[in-house]
């Protein structure tokens, strides 16, 4: 019972803070945090409800245990299973930044306790339910583990379905601004343009494309015309090649294969016509969805009258690819981890975290590329040595298809080709090559058709020097930036990836060939990406390397599994997963396809990104503390890798019979996280970032709404003032409120409008005495508000309305007549 009481008190303390309002009031220079408690009556109600809920839960479990598992009744009566709930009170410290004198220096701690509160509550609730389930003899756990009795094929299909459904639901739920949207920015229209010319049967030449406004709604598609165009193109280019070869043979030094020039992302083909620099591979993936939008669902023209205004099905194609990536990753991990359950869990985590989670509704080739990378990697790592010719041929074709998506994937395709040739045998090897080579030749034929060059990078080679495709000058720093940079790096946006290096070393101990393969694939994309840019034209962070990131969840999973018996590793893994999922959630929620770096409307303004260094630019060049921060983070990752390498070499301890949390180990992990948070942030003195903070206008609205609800607030304070009330908040443009009375039968509606100025709403309090003996109604108003009162009797009544403004009190009296009912 003591535990139940402790749980009730803990919930009450937490709810007292959580039902209050913490809000950052920022201007151009600094931020002042305000805390407004919910009021005395509300707190009393909260305490009663919290205690009642705890006692009710305790009583229900005790009753249930007495009936179904009487052996555990003594344990149930101690209430120890409610212990996790007792931790909820700690979250109250999340209001620290609002404590007078603390301010933004408390933001890092508040991030952990306040911004992440829903994660902690979910964990506490789940942990408590598991403990209660154990008291009943684990019926729920047994039901879950009954899945292991299913046939292997059924379990795989179940895993596919669970992963697919979870990821699709996650993508739809977390992207309110871009899900199924027709907004296209950056390079997205270029991929859709190919879809449109294919629909019109014009091949890939965009020069004579018709606009949607020039075509009737019921115009038939001409998709099959592309086939005849392809056939004639092959004939034309075969003859052209013969001519080119003769010309090249006669003067090899002066003959120019690539004979086109680029202008603003477009090129004029060697035979005329206009083509785009971007490869059409993604358009082929999008086309089925685009066809439906164009043929059936789109009525009005959208972007520049080129595409339909509704692109729901086109978006659905990306969403399907996102879900399929998860399924493919699950298939890879179940081979790698030998556990369907772990594979499903890590596949969902791998796909729900940054950067790939951001691409479910963006028309970029990264997701299809990720799907191909995962599928081909699975084949090469786990099936190549004993595969059929058909599978080998399909894998080879998939590997080469990467080049259709973007020339950036050329090196990965080369790595896949060499690995496939090395790891397959006899017939499968021939089949792998015969799948790979024709697809690669098809890309080269397209490039030859447009540019005259057979190089698969010919289109990008035609770019002018102002658009650098690859440069070795900033390559090393960009590579480091892809890991550590707070704005564009992988680790700050998905801290779970900090475990990749230690995990790779553990994987190397277990399966060196696999670790080397992963490293080669990672570098095969990271190097060309780093040679191009770090920011990827201001799109989603790490876009250029996103295709290979999902497979690196494997070493992370290997590391966690290898040391799962350690409480520190379990706690650390959980923390990193939460940080990564929270970053993904924050990014997706605020992503409206604007400038791509992380934005959020959080109440603290701190993110783990601020405990990472800035790589490149003025800060990198001049700040010693920033450099120290980089060295420190790199040293921690390296030290973790060395420890993992050394420990992984020892014989593995047996699985613990029952996993128990050691408070000291958990405390150690939390302490390490706190030290990193505070020291990391302190080094660059960036306690908060305006990009992560709730905007000034909504913050002031929130503050006003919370403050005016309480006449004289006893527990309202800010980081600069010990006690404030609603008259403290500025600006408050309320000067001359308008009052409006509306009588409807026996109901009277009193409406007060406190006005607004420059988008800021006036606010104040209002007391209304309705003159019928009932108690006056007192309420706060932000902007405008109304009170409805019902008169029981007809008659004449004098309504007294008192408006409390910041520096004034206005009293108005109105006499009304309530007529008897007909």
């Amino acid at each position: 019972m003591r535990w139940a009481l402790a749980a009730g008190i803990s919930i009450a303390i937490y709810c007292g803070a959580a039902f209050g309002t913490l809000v950052p009031l920022s201007d151009s220079d600094n931020v002042e945090y305000l805390f407004v408690w919910p009021g005395g009556a509300a707190v009393v109600a909260i305490v009663i409800v919290a205690l009642a809920a705890a006692v009710l839960a305790y009583a229900l479990v005790c009753l249930g245990v007495r009936r179904w598992a009487p052996a555990s009744l003594t344990e149930a009566r101690t209430g120890r299973w409610l212990a996790p709930v007792s931790l909820m009170g700690v979250l109250t410290f999340g209001i620290l930044p609002a404590v007078p004198g603390v301010g933004d220096r408390g933001a890092p701690l508040a991030y952990w306790l306040y911004d992440l509160r829903w994660w902690w509550i979910a964990i506490i609730a789940g942990w408590t339910l598991v403990r209660a389930d154990r008291l009943f003899g684990s019926p729920f756990a047994r039901r879950l583990s009954a899945v292991t009795t299913w046939s292997p094929v059924t379990r795989v299909l179940l895993g596919d379905a669970v992963v697919f459904a979870a990821l699709v639901a996650w993508a739809i739920a977390t992207t309110p601004m871009i899900r199924f949207s027709n907004r296209t920015v950056g390079d997205e229209p270029k991929y859709l343009r190919y879809c449109e010319v294919l629909y019109q049967g014009r091949g890939l030449d965009v020069s004579n494309k018709r606009l949607l406004t020039d075509e009737p709604l019921d115009a038939p598609p001409a998709v099959f015309r592309n086939v005849s165009l392809l056939t004639s193109t092959i004939g034309e280019e075969a003859r052209a090649l013969a001519i080119d070869l003769r010309a090249f043979a006669s003067s090899p030094s002066s003959f120019r294969w690539n004979r086109i020039g680029e202008h603003d992302g477009f090129v004029t083909g060697k035979r005329g016509g206009v083509y785009q620099l971007h490869q059409p591979g993604l358009s082929a993936v999008l086309f089925p969805g685009y066809f439906l939008d164009r043929y059936l669902f789109g009525i009005d023209p959208g972007y520049q009258n080129e595409f339909p205004a509704e692109l729901v099905m086109t978006n659905t194609m990306m969403l399907l690819v996102y879900g399929l990536c998860g399924v493919a990753l699950f298939r890879l991990l179940r081979h790698a981890l030998s556990s369907n359950r772990l594979a499903a869990l890590w596949a969902v985590i791998g796909m729900a975290t940054m950067p790939v989670t951001a691409f479910a509704f963006q028309f970029y080739p990264e997701l299809p590329a990720a799907l191909l990378v995962i599928v081909v990697s699975t084949y090469l790592l786990f099936h190549a040595t004993k595969s059929s010719a058909v599978a080998a041929c399909a894998a080879g074709a998939a590997a080469a298809s990467l080049v259709w998506l973007h020339p950036r994937f050329l090196i990965i395709a080369a790595v896949f080709f060499m690995t496939g040739i090395a790891w397959t045998r006899s017939t499968a090897r021939v089949a792998y090559a015969s799948g790979f080579i024709p697809v690669l030749i098809s890309v080269m034929l397209f490039d030859y058709r447009v540019t005259g060059s057979w190089l698969p990078s010919a289109l990008y080679d035609a770019q002018r020097s102002s658009e650098i495709t690859f440069s070795t000058s900033g390559l090393l720093m960009n590579l480091i930036g892809y890991g550590f940079d707070r704005k564009w790096g992988l680790f700050p946006h998905s801290p779970l990836l900090l475990a990749v290096l230690p995990g790779l070393l553990v994987l190397f101990r277990e399966r060196s060939r696999h670790a080397l393969f992963l490293t080669a694939v990672g570098l095969a994309l990271a190097i060309p990406a780093a040679g191009h840019s770090l920011s990827a034209a201001g799109t989603t962070p790490d876009r250029l390397v996103a295709a290979v990131v999902p497979i690196f969840i494997w070493p992370v999973a290997v590391l966690a599994r290898r040391f799962w018996s350690s409480t520190s590793i379990r706690a650390g893994t959980l923390l990193l997963v939460i940080l990564s999922l929270d970053a993904a959630l924050a990014y997706n929620f605020s992503n409206g396809k604007q400038f791509g770096s992380l934005h959020d409307a959080s109440l603290t303004g701190w993110k783990p990104n601020l405990a990472f260094p800035i790589i490149r630019g003025a800060v990198w060049d001049s700040s010693t503390s920033n450099f120290i921060l980089f060295i420190a983070v790199a040293a921690i990752v390296s030290a973790a890798a060395i420890v993992a390498w050394l420990r992984a070499g020892r014989a593995k301890a047996g699985e613990p019979s029952a996993i128990r949390a050691t408070p000291v180990a958990i405390g150690g992990v939390l302490l390490a996280a706190a030290v990193w948070t505070i020291v990391g942030t302190w080094l660059n003195r960036d306690w908060i970032n305006a990009d992560y903070l709730l905007g000034s206008r909504p913050a002031r609205h929130m503050a006003a709404a919370a403050l005016v609800e309480i006449d004289r607030c006893r527990v309202c304070f800010t980081s600069r003032h010990r006690q404030v009330d609603w008259t403290w908040l500025e600006p408050n443009p309320a000067r001359d409120p308008a009052i409006d009375l509306d009588i409807d039968g026996h109901d009277v509606r009193v409406r007060a409008d406190f006005g607004s100025k420059g988008g800021v709403e006036g606010f104040g309090r209002m007391a209304i005495a309705f003159g019928d003996g009932t108690a006056p109604v007192r309420t706060g108003v932000v902007g405008s508000g109304e009170v409805v009162h019902h008169y029981r009797q007809p008659g004449h009544f004098e309504i007294g309305i008192t408006l409390y403004l910041r520096d004034d009190v206005r009293v108005e009296r109105r006499t009304i007549e309530i007529a008897p009912h007909d």
Binding site: T154, P216, D218, L296, I299
Partner: protein, 133 residues
């Protein structure tokens, strides 16, 4: 029924359901295409109607149009029954183009296109101005 038979049955039911859904989707697609044709036809008719109206406007003699504009100016300037605005259609020496668009384009020309006489069309326009006063 064994677990495997249950799964086999479920798969068959799903396959049948999928086939039915595909057939329904095909029929729906045909219907949508027909509706698109209808929408296109309506759009064509709307465009024809609009161009017909405008072509009727272009047939309006310049003298009559000028008379309508002068009448409008008088109504705007006329105190009492009119708007009583000093300057008429040109208050403060600036042409009130919106008034011309609203009353000439919105009242006078459609009335003429509908076959009303010049006098009737001008009266209708003036009545509209006075009503809005």
């Amino acid at each position: 029924m064994t677990s495997e038979r249950r799964w086999a049955l479920a798969v068959r039911v799903l396959a049948l359901l999928s086939a039915v859904l595909v057939a329904i989707a095909g029929l729906e697609a045909r219907t949508i295409r027909r509706l698109r044709s209808d929408v296109q036809q309506l759009r064509d008719e709307r465009d024809q109607q609009a161009s017909g109206v405008i072509s009727a406007w272009t047939r309006e003699p310049a003298e009559e149009l000028g008379e309508a504009v002068r009448s409008l100016d008088r109504v705007f300037a006329e105190p009492g029954a009119g708007v009583g605005r000093p300057g008429g259609l040109c208050p403060d020496s600036h042409l009130d183009d919106q008034a011309i668009v609203r009353y000439i384009g919105g009242e006078f020309l459609p009335a003429r296109a509908a076959g009303r006489t010049l006098t009737q069309a001008i009266e209708r326009m003036n009545a509209a101005v006075k009503q809005k006063k």
